[in-house]
Amino acid sequence: MASKLTTSNRAGWAFALPGFGLILLFIVIPFFFAFYLSLTNQRLVSPNPTEYVGFSNYEKLLSISVLTIEPEVDTAGVVLRDDAGEAQYPRVRSFTRNNPDFPQYDGMREWFRWHWGGTAKVVVATDVVFWKSLRNTLMFVLVVAPVQAALALGLALLVNQKLRGINIYRAIYFMPVVVSIVVVSLLFRFIYDGNDGLLNNILSFLTFGLFEGRDWLGSPDTALGAIKAMSIWQAVGFHMVIWLSGLQTISPTLYEASSIEGASKWQTFRYVTWPGLRNTAVLVIIVITMQAFALFAQIDVMTNGGPLDSTTTLVFQAVERGYGKQDISGAAAISVVLFLIVLSISMLQRYITRAR
């Protein structure tokens, strides 16, 4: 079979060659290259030769630990408290900087802490920014994937009706998809602007001036949320079209049969539409998840990861380190971690949604 394919289909292979070549050059080779680079100390530009360093990039990236700190006590054993009555704790630095008693925490920084039974539990990591970017990325995916998929399905159900001029609505909902995400991000920077942004103006108008206005992208509390909302809006039309194609594969007779049986709108959705969309649902969820994990352009244009690393993401960190800090091997390690996360989530989703 293989020999027949290669001898009798020479023209076919010739046609496929440019495509294969580009895929090989820009996807396959870089993919394996990333694995290799993540095991070295390669820098973007460096006079020193590249050395194999094993898994030390991953160790730096992934080492995380919980440090339990007892409150400071005076000589009588009474917990020292500040003016507000809060217990005083020794500084985390005293454990992570040149402390021979705790070599395992050496060089780590505090990510966040909570209090537990009179002690402080401090999560420390060597690369706190990486962990923040991982958390931000996961929060982004956890919100965007279900909300975008559900909204897109809702829109698809709306525009799947046979109404006059329904194509206008399909076009309107699809429009943001054809606009470059960079352009959309730039526009939304104006919309979210703290001084005279459109969003603040609208909210102020709707609340008769009660709403004070805020800098949506300038506050760690709202920045990621604002980017989530924009990203959902931008790509929802694309997934609407995929849902729509799924809806149109469902035989109209099934709807007729269920209407003769007396199914309500909800029952029709529950028993006819949703089961018929099963394969589409798997596709949409996996595609959205993968796209959401790749979040980069919005961050790069709108916030550069700030404020206070509240919007930094894995891909943004990979680019930032690789090209900003010239730390190609560290960036490669992040890429590999991201790949493994997306791979395992996709496999999990396939497993959960497998045909039974």
């Binding site: 049969a257 003769i260 309500s264 018929g276």
Partner: protein, 356 residues
Amino acid sequence: MANVKLRGIRKSYGKTEVIKGVDIDIKDGEFVVFVGPSGCGKSTLLRMIAGLEDITDGTLEIDGTRVNDLEPSKRGIAMVFQTYAIFPHMTVRENVAFGLTINKMKKAEKDAKVDDAARILQMEHLMDRRPSELSGGQRQRVAIGRAIVRDPKVFLFDEPLSNLDAALRMDMRMEIGKLHQDLGASMIYVTHDQVEAMTLADKIVVLKDGLVMQAGAPMELYHEPANLFVAGFLGAPSMNFLKVTVDEIGGDWVQVSSDALASVKVPNKGRAFTFGQTATLGIRPQYLTAAPDGQGMLNGKVILTERLGSETVVNLAVADGTTLIAAIAEDAVLVPGDDMAWTFDPAVAHAFPEVS
């Protein structure tokens, strides 16, 4: 079980009228077949009875109640579709029980009904399978089962056998006939296959271009077709038509002749003819026989013979260029090219004033 009454039923799509005023009476327990060529409106008519299409004008009564504006599920009908319309993600049992499930029937009662239907259709062994594991005939059985459990007043069948292969079609045809005997329910059955119409119906309604051409018992339509269309549509092979001239008109007869045909007196069946007009003479192939010497009514040259086993079908070329078909005894041996004399009993021939 109920009467169905159609009065002046019309259907238009925009300016195109597809059903042009149809009156039909269906008695309680009657098996009525709508038959006609593609595009005659038979399926549309059935779908209007089901409530899947709006009725533009006229009155539809089921069981003495006007149901024009009732939801399909409120009309007391059950429908079996050409494409089965069974839900692919449900087992046979769930499919059959679908209508009962969504109407929240108690489990014990539901199971009893479903088992009953399974027994009637002899598909108890299939109940836990999925539609993908069933043959076409079995799927159609499931669809019929789903109709049975609803205890409908009227069963509607929309070309239920068209997607089955020939052998299976015959089996299912008999089963549907038997089902009608067992249930005694009113059934309306749409088909383009005149064999199904002849074998199943208590009453056949022949439709053409949105109008009823003739309605009546199968043999009545076969022996006494009201017009050229019905004459040509029912019976296999279909009726021979000869273009003739009216020579003489009597009380209940008309005498016709043509270049190919010696003068012959046939019953006029109350149809009006004018002297000298061109008319059509219809002779069923079964009634056309080889004539004893000197008694031939027309000469026909044998072009082709097809031995079907039970009969032999002979194509004949007659003097005016028409091709006639004769169905003769199975053991007759005819040689193509033979010019032979043929005859028929004028009493069973049909004269129509219209010309096809």
